[in-house]
């Protein structure tokens, strides 16, 4: 499995501002993903971060709100734009490996919007 780090680990932000979350992996991976976990809820996939092309967003998530970059095979960023208190969540990145389709998750970024 990979070692995955995220920065920041937590942040408190004011509404209307934006926050960029970084995800770093210690090895090259083809597939990276971003999830949101709202308080007391399960995980919901935001998008698949594709290296060298636009991210693929799930229903209910749009690029203007959650722009994603994937400049290389070990790094990705997720920006939460124009934040509102409803964006308060844990944001997790994950990486996937080939055949068995399991994913390994970063420690998460706990975001609070006031």
């Amino acid at each position: 499995s990979a070692v995955i780090s995220q920065k920041p680990s937590r942040d408190i932000c004011q509404r209307g501002t934006s926050l960029t979350i970084q995800c770093q992996v210690d090895s090259q991976v083809t597939m990276m993903f971003w999830y949101r976990q709202q308080p007391g809820q399960s995980l919901t996939l935001i998008a698949t971060a594709n290296q060298g092309s636009e991210a693929t967003y799930e229903s209910g998530f749009v690029i203007d709100k959650f722009p994603i970059s994937r400049p290389n095979l070990t790094f990705s960023t997720l920006t939460v734009s124009n934040m509102s208190p409803e964006d308060s969540s844990i944001y997790l990145c994950s990486v996937g490996y080939g055949g068995d389709y399991e994913q390994y998750f970063g420690p998460g970024t706990r975001l609070t919007v006031t």
Binding site: S1, M31, F33, Q41, S42, L43, T44, L45, T48, L92, S94, G96, G99, D100, Y101, E102, Q103, Y104, F105, G106, P107, G108
Partner: protein, 114 residues
């Protein structure tokens, strides 16, 4: 479409007694199934996975799960609970042959009492 249903939102057991966390799945194709655990303020950890090999799958920390196609179930068990098992458990499905899109259940909170 694929989905998982975790039948219990909260399970409480005494230390040393068996654990049973129930999960039913729905998938149009051959599924891959996973159990993840999330300890408080920690990231997600993969407990075990089923990927069409043996139907009885052994994972870490003494957990195991049995894939039963006729019942569309993938229940998680452990013979003897330990205090350190207290956490949130997620049943997850992925459709074999697709790009690793994981669908999470709503989670079961396991409480272990003395």
């Amino acid at each position: 479409a694929q989905s998982v249903t975790q039948l219990d939102s909260h399970v409480s057991v005494s230390e040393g007694t068996p654990v049973l966390l129930r999960c039913n799945y729905s998938s149009s194709y051959s599924p891959s199934l996973f159990w993840y655990v999330q300890h408080p303020n920690k990231g997600l950890q993969l407990l075990l996975k089923y990927t069409s090999a043996a139907t009885l799958v052994k994972g870490i920390n003494g957990f195991e799960a049995e894939f039963k196609k006729s019942e569309t179930s993938f229940h998680l068990t452990k013979p003897s609970a330990h205090m350190s098992d207290a956490a949130e458990y997620f049943c997850v499905v992925s459709v074999t042959g697709t790009a690793s899109k994981l669908t999470f259940g709503t989670g079961t909170r396991l409480q272990v009492t003395l």
